[in-house]
Amino acid sequence: MADPALRILLVDQNVTRASILEEGLREAGYTNVAVVRDMQNLLRRIVDADPDVIFIDLENPNRDVLEQMFQVSRCVRRPVAMFVDHSDTDMIRAAVESGVGAYVVDGLRKERVKSILDMAVSRFNAFSQLRDELDRAKQELEERKIVERAKGILMKERGLSEDAAYSLLRKAAMNENRRLAEVAQSVVTAARLLK
């Protein structure tokens, strides 16, 4: 069961992902979640939040900053170990593969961390999916624009109707076993070169 008293600190400069993760943790019953987006005064923020576990986005180069703070953490009397158990590479693997790093304060029991780590990992994966979908949508939009431009070129150069221009592109794509957008790109590039 989620322990609402557990203090969790998220270090993530990506606002969207941080809020997805924060929301997920709250839904799971962890109400004590603090988020750090600004890397300035990170040590101060950690001391203030006094977390049991810290999550950080692995694409964040500031991960090395955090590691050093743990090295010198003796001076702030907050010894921190990474990942729970020194032999549990499966847990590390799951975390690293999803893109989330977990730092666990000494003394926190493994079972308690496991459930929030699982939660964080699934949320991070959900975010990556969301990002992939966004990228795909963006790419589709780009491709549609290219096809429109290629159609325009064919209509102008060959005096074709819009439908005829589109059919011509599709036919070429099928014959050459290439994607419509690739053929359209060739038309646009060729038109530019022949100008």
Binding site: L58, E59, N60, P61, N62, R63, D64, V65, L66, E67, Q68, F70, Q71, V72, M82, F83, H86, S87, T89, I92, R93, V96, E97, G101
Partner: protein
């Protein structure tokens, strides 16, 4: 066989890039997939869990991982060194001005520079001003230890009289510009980038502090090396030939252009070329200064994994309280660096392999580190 290798965008990832791009890996029937990483902690984790077969790694990181200091204990070995040198210490223009008024000059030796810095530090302390802040890139790094060695040699306590923090290389120049830090120790091209941006002065190459000092190594899990001895030997040969290629003066322009690509180092080719030639512009608007043996890809046994390097790193971990001394540590440190694997792989193509595993290391202040005493 396809090998996945991680690297951090720095000058000394050169032999990995060249092995992949100029056919040296292919000659050994290897296909290298290079993955650019953003932090040293990621490099270590991805080697440890097997995402990477091997990686461009900090020498002290392999030792720390083998001993389980600061992280999970997973034996990581260093069978090959990725060149010597390539680091420098850069300070802000304001700190440089204060140092020159305390006796430092552009061509001073590291001892004179450090003595001037000591006087600046003492003046600040007397005026009850905030201590100076220096940045380096990782707690278990040559940069951290070289910077500390240089400061301590002048009587500056690196833990009390200055602040030492970690900042990732791409953020260092901005931090110096913003006044968040007063100086840093990092590998090229980041010192030159700071000078070029008009925000810093290079005070010393770390090879002036510790001549022929090591830097990155090829690191892999011991367990991986035991499972793939042939592939590892092939990789070492590919890297050795790539390092030879990097050393040739006529290849430097091509190498600089190759590394300048955003998927590798992503810094201006002319700055990378200067670093490869050991011709650094030390301060804004000055002419490049020739630094002897600044970055050595292969000469002077630059690819040999000296056990004395590993032992020196361990001595620094003890000196700066990163770990407690333990009876079983020394043997573990010795087996982290693997000259035996190096010899076995390269005996046929490198006629100059050292006979001994260790050598006496010499420092700018006249001190020596004799590994037979450890």
């Amino acid at each position: 066989m396809k090998l996945i290798l991680g690297f951090i965008p720095l000058l000394d990832c050169a032999s990995l890039v060249v092995a992949a791009e100029r056919g040296f890996a292919a000659e050994e029937d290897l296909e290298l997939a290079l993955v650019r990483e953003t932090s040293w902690a990621n490099i270590r984790d991805r080697v440890v869990i097997g995402h990477f077969d091997a990686a461009h790694m900090l020498g002290p990181m392999a030792v720390a991982s083998t001993l389980g200091i600061g992280h999970v204990k997973v034996p990581v070995i260093a069978p090959f060194a990725l060149g010597l040198g390539g680091n420098a210490i850069t300070v802000s223009l304001r700190l440089w001005e204060q140092m020159t008024s305390e006796g430092a000059a552009a061509e001073s030796d590291p001892g004179t520079h450090a003595a001037a810095l000591k006087r600046v530090v003492a003046t600040r302390e007397k005026a009850r001003r905030e201590p100076l802040t220096f940045a380096m890139v990782y707690p278990f790094s040559c940069h951290n230890y070289e910077l500390r060695y240089w400061l301590a040699a002048a009587g500056i306590d690196p833990d009390r009289e200055v602040r030492l923090i970690v900042i990732p290389p791409p953020f260092l120049v901005d931090a110096l510009r913003a006044g968040q830090i007063d100086g840093f120790c990092v590998g090229e091209p980041w010192n030159s980038v700071a000078v070029h941006a008009g925000v810093g002065t290079i005070v010393t190459a770390t090879t002036a502090i510790w001549p022929f000092s090591p830097e990155k190594i090829l690191g892999c899990r011991l367990e991986w090396a035991q499972r793939h001895p042939k592939q590892l030997a092939s990789l070492l040969r590919a890297l050795y030939r790539a390092s030879q290629w990097c050393e040739e003066p006529e290849n430097r322009a091509e190498l600089a252009t190759l590394l300048a690509q955003p998927r590798y180092v992503g810094a201006p080719a002319d700055l990378l070329r200067q670093a490869l030639e050991g011709q650094l512009t030390l301060t804004t608007h000055s002419k490049p200064t020739r630094l002897e043996n600044f970055y050595i890809p292969v000469r002077h046994n630059a690819t040999f994994p000296w056990v004395s390097h590993a032992l020196w790193f361990y001595a620094q971990m003890l000196r700066w309280n990163q770990t407690e001394s333990r009876a079983d540590h020394l043997a573990a440190v010795r087996t982290t660096y693997r000259p035996d694997l190096y010899r076995a792989a390269l005996a046929a193509i490198n006629p100059d392999i050292p006979v001994g595993d260790s050598k006496t290391e010499r420092f700018f202040d006249g001190q020596t580190f004799d590994p037979t005493q450890h």
